[in-house]
Amino acid sequence: GDQVEQSPSALSLHEGTDSALRCNFTTTMRSVQWFRQNSRGSLISLFYLASGTKENGRLKSAFDSKERRYSTLHIRDAQLEDSGTYFCAAEAGYQNFYFGKGTSLTVIP
Protein backbone atom coordinates (compact mmCIF):
# COMPACT_ATOMS: atom_id res chain seq x y z
CA GLY A 1 0.00 0.00 0.00
CA ASP A 2 0.92 3.65 -0.26
CA GLN A 3 3.11 4.77 2.62
CA VAL A 4 3.18 8.41 1.56
CA GLU A 5 0.06 10.44 0.88
CA GLN A 6 0.44 13.89 -0.65
CA SER A 7 -2.16 16.61 -0.64
CA PRO A 8 -3.53 18.34 -2.52
CA SER A 9 -3.03 16.46 -5.78
CA ALA A 10 -3.36 19.72 -7.73
CA LEU A 11 -3.23 23.38 -6.78
CA SER A 12 -3.58 26.72 -8.55
CA LEU A 13 -2.14 29.84 -6.95
CA HIS A 14 -2.14 33.46 -7.98
CA GLU A 15 1.24 35.13 -8.09
CA GLY A 16 2.22 36.61 -4.76
CA THR A 17 0.09 34.29 -2.64
CA ASP A 18 1.18 31.69 -0.09
CA SER A 19 0.27 28.04 0.27
CA ALA A 20 1.33 24.78 1.86
CA LEU A 21 1.69 21.25 0.59
CA ARG A 22 1.50 18.32 2.93
CA CYS A 23 2.68 14.72 3.11
CA ASN A 24 1.28 12.22 5.58
CA PHE A 25 3.05 8.96 6.31
CA THR A 26 1.41 5.72 7.36
CA THR A 27 4.33 4.95 9.65
CA THR A 28 7.18 6.68 11.43
CA MET A 29 9.81 7.87 8.97
CA ARG A 30 13.52 8.57 9.48
CA SER A 31 13.75 11.52 7.10
CA VAL A 32 11.99 13.27 4.26
CA GLN A 33 12.98 14.86 0.99
CA TRP A 34 11.10 17.34 -1.20
CA PHE A 35 11.60 17.61 -4.96
CA ARG A 36 10.26 19.74 -7.76
CA GLN A 37 9.84 18.27 -11.24
CA ASN A 38 9.96 20.89 -13.97
CA SER A 39 8.30 20.89 -17.37
CA ARG A 40 11.28 19.08 -18.92
CA GLY A 41 10.91 16.27 -16.40
CA SER A 42 14.01 17.00 -14.34
CA LEU A 43 13.78 16.28 -10.62
CA ILE A 44 15.40 18.97 -8.49
CA SER A 45 16.09 18.38 -4.81
CA LEU A 46 14.62 21.13 -2.63
CA PHE A 47 15.12 19.90 0.93
CA TYR A 48 16.38 16.97 2.92
CA LEU A 49 15.22 16.89 6.56
CA ALA A 50 15.90 14.44 9.34
CA SER A 51 14.02 16.71 11.77
CA GLY A 52 12.90 20.29 12.33
CA THR A 53 12.64 22.92 9.62
CA LYS A 54 14.70 24.25 6.72
CA GLU A 55 14.24 27.39 4.71
CA ASN A 56 15.54 28.42 1.32
CA GLY A 57 14.33 31.71 -0.08
CA ARG A 58 10.56 31.58 -0.41
CA LEU A 59 10.39 27.87 0.41
CA LYS A 60 10.26 26.41 3.88
CA SER A 61 9.87 22.79 4.89
CA ALA A 62 9.09 21.16 8.20
CA PHE A 63 9.24 17.57 9.41
CA ASP A 64 7.22 16.62 12.44
CA SER A 65 9.98 15.78 14.91
CA LYS A 66 7.71 14.19 17.52
CA GLU A 67 5.77 11.48 15.74
CA ARG A 68 7.58 11.75 12.40
CA ARG A 69 4.33 11.08 10.54
CA TYR A 70 4.04 14.20 8.34
CA SER A 71 5.94 16.94 6.55
CA THR A 72 4.95 20.24 5.00
CA LEU A 73 6.32 22.49 2.27
CA HIS A 74 5.36 26.16 2.46
CA ILE A 75 5.58 28.41 -0.57
CA ARG A 76 5.61 32.12 0.14
CA ASP A 77 4.95 34.81 -2.47
CA ALA A 78 4.43 32.31 -5.28
CA GLN A 79 6.10 33.10 -8.61
CA LEU A 80 5.47 31.74 -12.10
CA GLU A 81 8.72 29.74 -11.97
CA ASP A 82 7.41 27.81 -8.96
CA SER A 83 5.03 25.94 -11.25
CA GLY A 84 5.74 22.24 -11.53
CA THR A 85 5.03 19.00 -9.74
CA TYR A 86 6.22 18.68 -6.17
CA PHE A 87 7.07 15.32 -4.68
CA CYS A 88 7.85 14.33 -1.17
CA ALA A 89 9.79 11.17 -0.43
CA ALA A 90 10.05 9.59 3.00
CA GLU A 91 12.72 7.24 4.31
CA ALA A 92 11.33 4.21 6.11
CA GLY A 93 14.35 1.92 6.10
CA TYR A 94 18.00 2.60 5.43
CA GLN A 95 18.17 5.15 2.64
CA ASN A 96 15.10 3.76 0.85
CA PHE A 97 12.71 6.57 0.05
CA TYR A 98 9.05 6.11 -0.83
CA PHE A 99 7.53 8.79 -3.03
CA GLY A 100 4.13 10.38 -2.88
CA LYS A 101 2.15 10.80 -6.09
CA GLY A 102 2.91 14.49 -6.30
CA THR A 103 1.18 17.86 -6.19
CA SER A 104 0.79 19.62 -9.53
CA LEU A 105 1.21 23.34 -8.87
CA THR A 106 0.21 26.03 -11.35
CA VAL A 107 0.99 29.65 -10.56
CA ILE A 108 -1.32 32.03 -12.37
CA PRO A 109 -0.33 35.62 -13.28
Binding site: L43, S45, Q95, N96, F97, F99, K101
Partner: protein, 111 residues
Amino acid sequence: EAAVTQSPRNKVAVTGGKVTLSCNQTNNHNNMYWYRQDTGHGLRLIHYSYGAGSTEKGDIPDGYKASRPSQENFSLILELATPSQTSVYFCASGQQGSDYTFGSGTRLLVI
Protein backbone atom coordinates in the same frame (compact mmCIF):
# COMPACT_ATOMS: atom_id res chain seq x y z
CA GLU B 1 30.33 19.22 -10.91
CA ALA B 2 29.01 16.03 -9.37
CA ALA B 3 26.24 14.54 -11.43
CA VAL B 4 24.15 11.54 -12.38
CA THR B 5 24.12 10.77 -16.08
CA GLN B 6 21.69 8.40 -17.72
CA SER B 7 21.88 6.87 -21.17
CA PRO B 8 20.16 6.64 -23.51
CA ARG B 9 17.80 9.61 -23.13
CA ASN B 10 15.23 7.93 -25.34
CA LYS B 11 14.83 4.33 -26.43
CA VAL B 12 12.40 2.41 -28.59
CA ALA B 13 12.51 -1.36 -28.12
CA VAL B 14 10.55 -4.26 -29.55
CA THR B 15 8.58 -6.65 -27.39
CA GLY B 16 10.77 -9.55 -26.31
CA GLY B 17 14.00 -7.69 -26.91
CA LYS B 18 16.70 -6.95 -24.35
CA VAL B 19 17.11 -3.40 -23.07
CA THR B 20 19.90 -2.03 -20.91
CA LEU B 21 19.62 1.37 -19.26
CA SER B 22 22.86 2.83 -17.94
CA CYS B 23 23.57 5.21 -15.11
CA ASN B 24 26.84 6.84 -14.08
CA GLN B 25 27.42 9.02 -11.00
CA THR B 26 30.35 11.19 -10.05
CA ASN B 27 29.04 11.95 -6.54
CA ASN B 28 30.99 9.08 -4.95
CA HIS B 29 27.72 8.01 -3.30
CA ASN B 30 27.43 4.48 -2.00
CA ASN B 31 23.76 4.08 -2.85
CA MET B 32 22.15 4.06 -6.27
CA TYR B 33 18.52 3.58 -7.28
CA TRP B 34 16.32 2.90 -10.26
CA TYR B 35 12.76 4.26 -10.31
CA ARG B 36 10.06 4.33 -12.93
CA GLN B 37 7.55 7.13 -13.20
CA ASP B 38 4.05 6.57 -14.53
CA THR B 39 1.01 8.82 -14.47
CA GLY B 40 -1.04 8.15 -11.36
CA HIS B 41 1.75 6.25 -9.60
CA GLY B 42 4.46 8.76 -8.91
CA LEU B 43 7.94 7.23 -8.68
CA ARG B 44 8.24 3.56 -7.80
CA LEU B 45 11.44 1.84 -6.74
CA ILE B 46 12.59 -1.03 -8.97
CA HIS B 47 16.09 -1.94 -7.73
CA TYR B 48 18.74 -0.32 -5.61
CA SER B 49 22.32 -0.88 -4.54
CA TYR B 50 24.40 -0.15 -1.48
CA GLY B 51 27.71 -0.37 -3.29
CA ALA B 52 29.71 -2.15 -5.96
CA GLY B 53 28.60 -5.74 -6.34
CA SER B 54 25.34 -5.29 -4.43
CA THR B 55 21.82 -5.20 -5.83
CA GLU B 56 18.55 -5.27 -3.90
CA LYS B 57 14.93 -5.60 -4.98
CA GLY B 58 12.70 -2.60 -4.60
CA ASP B 59 8.91 -2.51 -4.67
CA ILE B 60 8.38 -3.55 -8.31
CA PRO B 61 11.38 -5.70 -9.36
CA ASP B 62 9.55 -8.23 -11.54
CA GLY B 63 10.79 -8.17 -15.12
CA TYR B 64 13.93 -6.23 -14.24
CA LYS B 65 17.47 -7.06 -13.26
CA ALA B 66 20.16 -4.71 -12.02
CA SER B 67 23.93 -4.67 -12.09
CA ARG B 68 26.39 -2.58 -10.05
CA PRO B 69 29.84 -3.38 -11.39
CA SER B 70 31.49 -0.35 -9.79
CA GLN B 71 30.82 2.53 -7.42
CA GLU B 72 30.04 4.79 -10.39
CA ASN B 73 27.84 2.59 -12.58
CA PHE B 74 24.42 1.03 -12.07
CA SER B 75 22.51 -0.60 -14.92
CA LEU B 76 18.90 -1.66 -15.25
CA ILE B 77 18.29 -4.63 -17.53
CA LEU B 78 15.07 -5.72 -19.15
CA GLU B 79 15.79 -9.20 -20.50
CA LEU B 80 12.44 -9.56 -22.29
CA ALA B 81 10.88 -6.16 -22.71
CA THR B 82 7.07 -5.87 -22.63
CA PRO B 83 4.78 -2.95 -23.53
CA SER B 84 3.87 -2.59 -19.83
CA GLN B 85 7.47 -1.51 -19.24
CA THR B 86 6.95 1.59 -21.36
CA SER B 87 7.73 4.36 -18.90
CA VAL B 88 10.17 7.05 -17.84
CA TYR B 89 13.05 5.63 -15.83
CA PHE B 90 15.07 7.64 -13.35
CA CYS B 91 18.37 6.77 -11.74
CA ALA B 92 19.47 8.42 -8.50
CA SER B 93 22.45 8.34 -6.19
CA GLY B 94 22.40 9.01 -2.46
CA GLN B 95 24.23 8.77 0.81
CA GLN B 96 23.03 8.43 4.40
CA GLY B 97 22.12 11.83 5.78
CA SER B 98 21.92 13.63 2.47
CA ASP B 99 19.53 14.07 -0.40
CA TYR B 100 19.24 12.19 -3.66
CA THR B 101 20.66 13.40 -6.93
CA PHE B 102 18.60 12.33 -9.92
CA GLY B 103 19.57 11.79 -13.52
CA SER B 104 17.56 13.40 -16.32
CA GLY B 105 15.55 10.28 -17.05
CA THR B 106 15.23 7.77 -19.90
CA ARG B 107 12.03 7.55 -21.91
CA LEU B 108 11.46 3.94 -22.95
CA LEU B 109 8.83 2.89 -25.45
CA VAL B 110 8.29 -0.83 -25.96
CA ILE B 111 6.33 -1.65 -29.11
